[in-house]
């Protein structure tokens, strides 16, 4: 019984990380219909910015949690305004190629500035501690990850469904011309959405730094996981991302315990099963 609870907890923490990484990706796709390949590269930028900040803050993560999303918000806004908007008229392939190229450029810039080797990112203080839960030692940071994920999820749901901005956003997705004629600056709205997605990826990078490894391959490593989450959950569905993150997190955790030989393939088996039963993903809308 105890063991099941511990592995459930492991699954929750990993699910939290998966959700943080995929939330921005699915938001941008759902609102703008852009599959942002540079998402993971922005996540990496967040982690590297955080490294440079934490180095000067003796390992405190709080400043990074505020500064990095803001920095990524600005970068995201600039990318949307000056690059993405220009290629928008040329269709999805052009947008895909643009974000693909951006991912490469960002990765090379990171290598050039920070070096092509892993960097040490360790939190200090309260977050570095442990608590005793059910007779085992559990790192507070893992609980912190899960709480951050809940915070981000609730924040997004609140904005989308409980504010005027959320109403405009959802309306703009459905019928941008009508919303435009009502006096709303739709291009500005979309710029905000893309920038917010970038900020979310930066936030995820800050959170991931102390748990994983901060190195130039980290973007490539996480991109596949993020895609699996949004494919399983349904492209563009926030609720889908929540459910898919939890499913994959717990599947990985219990899979390692129960079917260790399959752990390498479990995530993909789930994705294949979902695609067979419901090709649009668990919560995806039929196109």
């Amino acid at each position: 019984m105890n063991e099941i609870a511990v592995f459930f907890l492991h699954g929750l923490a990993y699910a939290g990380l998966l959700f943080l990484v995929s939330a921005g990706l699915t938001l941008v796709f759902g609102m703008m219909n852009v599959l942002n390949f540079a998402h993971a590269a922005m996540y990496m930028l967040g982690a590297y910015f955080s490294y440079s900040i934490m180095l000067r803050m003796s390992g405190q993560i709080w400043l990074s949690l505020i500064v990095c999303p803001i920095a990524l918000f600005i970068i995201g806004a600039l990318i949307e305004r000056f690059l993405l908007r220009k290629v928008h008229a040329n269709g999805h392939v052009a947008e895909l190629l643009l974000t693909f190229g951006l991912a490469y450029i960002i990765t090379e810039l990171v290598k050039w500035y920070w070096g092509n080797y892993p960097l040490a990112v360790n939190v200090t203080g309260f977050l570095n501690g442990t608590v005793q839960i059910m007779g085992i030692t559990y790192p507070i940071y893992r609980i912190f990850i899960f709480l951050c994920a809940i915070f981000v999820g609730l924040l997004m749901a609140f904005i989308l469904y409980k504010t005027r901005l959320g109403i405009i956003l959802r309306a703009a997705v459905n019928d941008s011309e009508t919303v435009n004629t009502l006096g709303v600056n739709v291009p500005l709205v979309f710029m905000g959405v893309f920038a917010f997605g970038a900020a979310l990826s930066g936030f995820a990078g800050v959170i991931a730094g102390p748990l994983l490894s901060t190195f130039p391959g980290m973007a490539h490593d996480i991109l596949l996981d993020a895609f699996v989450v949004i494919v399983v959950g349904g492209f563009g569905s926030l609720g889908g991302a929540v459910v898919a993150s939890l499913l994959i997190g717990e599947l990985q955790s219990f899979g390692v315990l129960l079917f260790p030989k399959l752990s390498i393939a479990l995530m993909y088996m789930l994705m294949a099963a979902v695609l067979i039963i419901k090709p649009s993903g668990l919560f995806g809308e039929e196109q």
């Binding site: 592995f7 492991h10 990993y14 030692t137 893992r142 490894s213 996480i222 996981d225």
Partner: protein
Amino acid sequence: MKRSIIKSLCFLSAVLILSLPLYAAAADTIKIGATEPLSGTFKDIGERYLDGVVYAAKVINAKGGLLGKKVEVVPIDSELKPDVATRKAQNLIMKDDVRFFCGGTGSSVGAAMSQLAERENVIMYTYGMAAATMTGAKCNRNFFRPCANTDQQSYALAELIARKGYGKVAIIAQDYSFGQEALAAFKKKLAQANPSAKIVAELYHPAGTKDYAPYISQIIAAKPDVIFTPNWGNDLTILLKQGRPMGMSQKIFSYYINDEVTIQALGDDSLMIGNMGAEVYTLSIPTKKNEEFVASFYKDMGYYPTWLRGKAYVATMFWAEAVKKAGTTDVDAVIKAWEGLTYDGPAGLWTMRACDHQAQMPLWYTEIVAKTKFFDHAFEAPAGMAEAKDVSVPCAETGCIMKKK
């Protein structure tokens, strides 16, 4: 005007192309092509290996060269791709008549280079590619391994754990051929060296795993005395980074524990102190020859010949001994001279076994301690050695059938 510029450019490039083979034939050098990943994710590893080869050439040249000729190292960026490495090597063989190749990164690159060496009758030696099959079932007379393979390294660590009397061992490895081979060899040797020792947990995880918590919980639940892992890179750092806070406090015995970049990447010495490793070359080998080598390297370069650099250096000096003994750069003569040759260098007495071209040498144990004279961060201290015979795999068990020419 434009036309004449194009004309002169054409002429210039024609001259350059024509002069290339002439230059190569005229140059009185012995060339070694060093295949390393010099771009991409593993650039850092490749550059440190290359550094060791280049330094060996420098030392040889400072003493009047090899057979009176200068040794010249030709870096080949393998990009860690077998086809890229062999294509570039093939070019060097045809254009510059390069007969000697070496490399340390990627057993897949090594296997392809080994085949190329056999086909073109050149020599390939490795100071880092560890897959046992390369001097086992897939051995050939043109491939030499002056470094340890997975069998020897796992044997050395199993021997160490047995010597220290640990009874319960947890083992964890990446779920692919390297990890599986390393654990298989470890289990085989531990059963011989200490039959009462028990493997209390045997775990395999996908390479590049991000969340180790489910594995760490299983290790902790098995209550081992120590942990053995051949993990490297992020799979080693994240295991430690996530495992220690969860209470996985056991000593870790690992192939690559003394990598200074890994230790720095952890950024927290307390995660590392007490862990142990075994290598054919470590910076801290307590022999007079090594101390002299480290001192002169540091004087010349301003930094230390840590394991990767040292391994490449010792292996290349060993190769040079073989060429010296042969008295010629003729490939068949060098192969014959290297078989059975011994070399007494910074890392002790090395012998190139004729039956499989796998060098037999001692492995040096290290333990990570808080303070050393080398770095500000935690680093290795010497912790004894395993004799060559303790870690040797008998010729008959390697699966190598060496074809004679």
